[in-house]
Symmetry: C2
Subunit: 337 residues, 2 copies
Amino acid sequence: MVTIRDVAKKAGVGLGTVSRVLNNSTQVSEATRQRVLGVIRELNYTRNPIARRLSIGKTLTVAVILPFFTRPGFSERLNGVVSVLSQQSQYDLVIHNIETPEQRHIGFQDILRRQRVDGALILSLPILDKEVSTLINANLPIVLIDSGHPALSMFHQVDVDDVAGGQLATEHLLTLGHRRVGFVGDIIDNGFNFISSRDRFFGYRKALEKAGIPFRPEYYAEDEHGRLEARALAKTMLSLPERPTAVFAASDTQAIGVLEAAHALGLRVPEDLSIVGYDDVEVADILGLTTVRQLLFESGQQGMELLLAMLDEPQMGPVHEMLPTELVVRNTTAPPP
Amino acid sequence: MVTIRDVAKKAGVGLGTVSRVLNNSTQVSEATRQRVLGVIRELNYTRNPIARRLSIGKTLTVAVILPFFTRPGFSERLNGVVSVLSQQSQYDLVIHNIETPEQRHIGFQDILRRQRVDGALILSLPILDKEVSTLINANLPIVLIDSGHPALSMFHQVDVDDVAGGQLATEHLLTLGHRRVGFVGDIIDNGFNFISSRDRFFGYRKALEKAGIPFRPEYYAEDEHGRLEARALAKTMLSLPERPTAVFAASDTQAIGVLEAAHALGLRVPEDLSIVGYDDVEVADILGLTTVRQLLFESGQQGMELLLAMLDEPQMGPVHEMLPTELVVRNTTAPPP
DNA sequence: CTGTTAGCGCCTTCAT
DNA sequence: ATGAAGGCGCTAACAG
């Protein structure tokens, strides 16, 4: 293997000079710089990143902790993260996929151990109370994407405005003339502490309130995230004596469950029932589902850019970004019957 | 930061002894081992992986190169890979997502450079002829998952039997009584060198041949991978004077395009037209699509296990594994009209 | 069994 | 502007 020493010898310079060339120091004459660069090319030398890391005392590695990265929304965010890094960066990325509380523990533990990573990105994994102090004590550059916690305002955060998104979806239905609008979402406290469903529900409440429509508890249903669960919930809700004429689901997956329930009950969509989802995953397009789109890829991008900026400029004050949402109207919404 | 030296001093031993304890050497008395372990706990010491890597001359890092990891099939494979590593391994994983020929080049270049990684996993990225020598010269443990090349039999490979899968799908249709069966797939030479569509087509041909049914070129159509492309192809094929009574699509995405074309032409599925897809992605379940399922997660798992075994035992002869496929019959196939 | 020593490859003062 | 030297934290070979 060819080392910096070989290059120095062949170029007839000290190895300090080679190092300076490698690090773009201005303290080296153009002539020798060119000579050294020539030898580097000739020998096809690339510097050993591990030795470099040990020497400068940085890992040049960042961690991203996220749950269920095979789910479309999460993987799209991750894609944004990866895209920034692959562009042009000396940083490596290690991924911690969290699917169980135990993995969650290991992820945090492992990542926050000294000398493992220079910074971390927490993606769609709302922080639990007991984790707050761990993160603060880690004393590590951390960016939270879609993973807030009131006690963590000192961290950089990139969030999507789930409240606004929920409001947007609901107002679309209200504007169409609906007055009986149901909500189908996730269990609010499920251990993973996902809060997006909750926030979308807040948006729903807000829209109702603004329109002067009282909230009806029988129009609210929650269960574990999933199509089948949502279908069951919707079947019950749509069998009420006075059933809703529209349903806002906290995700496209759940909206599809609602759609299936409607079909099973012989309700036509959108003539008898309007449905709005959330996320705009690929299936939404295929099925023609009206939904709320968020900037998934961009959220990952911006988060990673923030982290890199922070690594570069540790003193940066915390930045809180809020990404907009957008209503995508397709074929599952119409005025009430 | 607490180093091995601090531990040694506090435990009253030499730092070589601490290192031996860390590496489970048998050459250390139980008494001192316990004492050292006690101090390690007390000081909350963890060893610096970077220094370790430099010292042992290994990166303890493996690369995975894969295209479009946000696509369901690919991300599920990746998930298998990640799951093995997160279990319990000293290895880090760096991911190279390939979406353009340029990224592909960078990925190979970067990865195969000395001292970057100890091994690599190539996932669903069939090797191009010009890349073959690069891989061989890299002289690095490499496992190919779903990415074969005839000249690379010296590498470990985990493959799914796309030929058998294509045959399975087609035979299902033939058994139902279909005699006019169309095929809709990817362009065979598209630069990424994806060969799964081609192999599924071979399986289709094989099934026809075994049944003594001649291949009709007008029942074969290919274009870029995509739902809309497949829809256009199917529209043409289904408008033939003697249209096929069944279509086998090389992926679920394309099968959905065919489904849409059928609807647009007023053909009922499965009464007028049977459709079989491939992959069993989530949408297939939602739409009730008959399809072929492959062991995505397991392929990633097995590939990574092979790589780890190889890293452990470099002299291992190459292992070629072939994973089975399975037909999932749902609601889009029936006897011909 | 255990302490000491010499690197691993690179970066960074410190002189010159 | 450049060369020499020390050190990053750990491992492994060598003495004892």
